[in-house]
Symmetry: C2
Subunit: 395 residues, 2 copies
């Protein structure tokens, strides 16, 4: 026991000079454990807890209905099951799972906690959950979200000047692996926009964009491209941790209903990218896409600059036909975009508007691609949409 305490303390303190023996993980417990049959076993040590449950998006979802501003809203939330205890260790083994990125938490006597045996976590707005990926076979969804032994692109957090907004602002830039080895080649650019509550880290962290692009490019399924992930909240400079003050993000403080400021300031982003990176310029080599708020922004940007983007992607976020839409969309399609792509989940509240836009385009004879998935307004869908959309760009 004394030795166990010593080892634990050394791990906590990072007291490397003292640790000579091979050390196990900090908790001495393996969780999650992905089994050969693709079931997953979770373990959590707690001798005093009365009940321990696990909640995760691999469990059958519960659909909750509630009223919000006079509308009935249905929302899928991860299911919850009891874990069983033996010698102070609570455990649960899932059903066999398909390849995917999964998230989960434990619920100890009613309070959510993270799994101390699993260092992998994602933050979505103000909530941290543990994650793991599982690939049942090469090329399934989970496989694209994992790091494989393929050439890796670089990822930079860069600060650019936005004179329009009067701010220096931060964004994430992915350059494909071959950008380094082909020093004269020029590349097309996908501008990829996050949703409310998100920031310039969202698509790389929650969205697995780096892994998706590395893997798609390595397989020859996507063209080598630069992916630019800016901060879509016009009054913020940067994500928590890179911004002045340690603010706690909420939907409220990371939200901008208006798309006007993003429309007006977006040329500042394009100017920085096209002057700092080797890029092909022109409509055929620019794409814009986003999720939720970022989908509405992509719609607005394509209408504000109809000759700017040859590819437009709206993931669970559209602006329904309204107001000056007739002329604006006529201008968009007069410029002959190569792809005008709408993706939405069947139970997503955005589905109604997505269908309105699709029907409007079809009535007008505008070529539109509509992708309907299962599920709702969740990252699992946005990763899938990104994986599909990226394969159709710049070909």
């Amino acid at each position: 026991m004394k030795n166990f305490i010593a080892v634990t303390l050394m791990l906590l303190a990072g007291a490397s000079a003292f640790a000579q023996q091979a050390l196990g993980p900090g908790t001495g417990i393996v969780s999650p454990q992905i089994n050969p049959d693709h079931t997953v076993t979770f373990r959590y040590e707690n001798r005093k807890a009365v009940t321990v449950q696990i909640t995760g998006d691999f469990l059958p979802a519960k659909t909750l209905e509630f009223q919000n501003e006079g509308r009935t809203v249905r929302l899928d939330v991860p299911g919850t099951v009891d874990m069983t205890e033996q010698n102070g260790v609570w455990s649960y083994t899932s059903a066999p799972l398909e390849g995917e990125l999964y998230s989960y938490s434990f619920i100890v006597d009613g309070k959510k906690v993270t799994d101390p045996s699993n260092i992998y976590m994602n933050r979505d707005i103000a909530t941290w959950t543990n994650i793991f990926t599982l690939s049942a076979e090469q090329g399934d969804k989970g496989w694209y979200y994992e790091v494989h032994d393929v050439p890796h692109g670089n990822v930079s957090k860069v600060w650019y000047d936005s004179p329009t907004l009067g701010l220096k602002r931060r964004m994430t830039v992915y350059t494909p692996a071959e950008y380094e080895s082909n020093p004269k080649a020029k590349y097309p650019v996908l501008y990829l926009l996050h949703g409310s509550g998100g920031d310039e880290d969202a698509w790389s962290d929650l969205g697995r964009t780096i892994q998706i692009m590395d893997n798609l490019i390595a397989e020859g399924k996507a063209e080598p491209m630069i992916v630019v992930m800016p901060n879509g909240v016009y009054f913020n400079q940067a994500a928590p941790g890179a911004a002045v003050n340690m603010f706690q993000p909420t939907m409220a403080n990371s939200r901008s209903q208006s798309t006007v400021e993003i429309e007006q300031s977006f040329p500042d982003i394009i100017k920085y990218i096209e002057s700092h990176y080797r890029v092909r310029k022109g409509m055929a080599d620019r794409a814009v896409a986003g999720l939720s708020m970022g989908g509405r922004q992509s719609s607005a940007l394509s209408r504000a600059y109809p000759k700017m983007f040859g590819y437009v992607g709206m993931f669970s976020g559209v602006v329904p036909p309204q107001g000056e839409f007739d002329q604006q969309l006529a201008d968009v399609f007069a410029a002959k975009p190569k792809l005008y792509w709408i993706g939405c989940g069947k139970t997503d509240g955005v589905m109604q508007n997505s269908l309105l836009l699709k029907d409007y385009c079809q009535q007008k004879g505008y070529p539109v691609t509509f992708y309907e998935s299962e599920g709702g307004h969740i990252w699992r869908n946005w990763r899938v949409y990104m994986t599909i959309f990226a394969q159709q760009l710049f070909k």
Copy 2:
């Protein structure tokens, strides 16, 4: 209550389209709250817990003694105090604190959990803890670790080829803010090495290197420089999350006792940096420093390449005089390094070897700078050493 559930669920699901009202943080609780007198209040809601404690490095440390391989080891660990409960919310207010980056966790009925109201966390090897920074006045330690409204440098995660190790490997590169605005200027380079259990993310995340450099350069206290933070474990390609497989890091799987491979392969790193960045080449414009294992590597690199680095920093990590040391150190000092810097904490187990090296250098008449701090083998000291060391480079 129904509305509260709805709001909570929407936050969890990122269901931005539905949330119209201003939303508070996910838990509805403010923690930590930094008060005007620099005390800090922590809050945690749990109606079923019997005891809730807080453990943090702002509490008086406990010194533990234990035996390890026949030696008596003393280790400072964060103190623990009870929190008090009112209406289901446990709270604790600290004494007034000096400017610093602090870490803490809650202990609920004996089990450590993170603070669900605070999104800011650091991972040290396999342990996540909450963090916060506090600056009592401009220019105190905490101030340097915070993001301020100063020009910000860019941070890149780049992959380089190490033919010596037969691996593509990842490293973190900081370029100062003016690197972008002075497109012809060339910059000196600090190579900054992490300790056992660490990786190429350690100095930027735990070490606050980005903030320290931005702030020191903005104040004119440090020269604009590039800081290169490679992965110091020769058999690893990258940090968890960027590496193949979701491995759980331990001291064991992120540890390399031998410095030979790092010595042999380090020219691969320098070659990449000097061919991909605008850098000044030559001993006067290269520094190497590291903590713990990285300090031993810095010692080894300076001895292997005595004319490579004009500045050498060993933070809580030295190689004591032994073996071929006489000739090697004679070569190091024959090349007249501008700075040979040793930093160590009074209660650090490395102090004995640090003093041996200092005394050896002084007996030989080699100019050496020795910095003794309070405390032990902890990140708090390494951030301070980095802040001091960086101000002495390239002047």
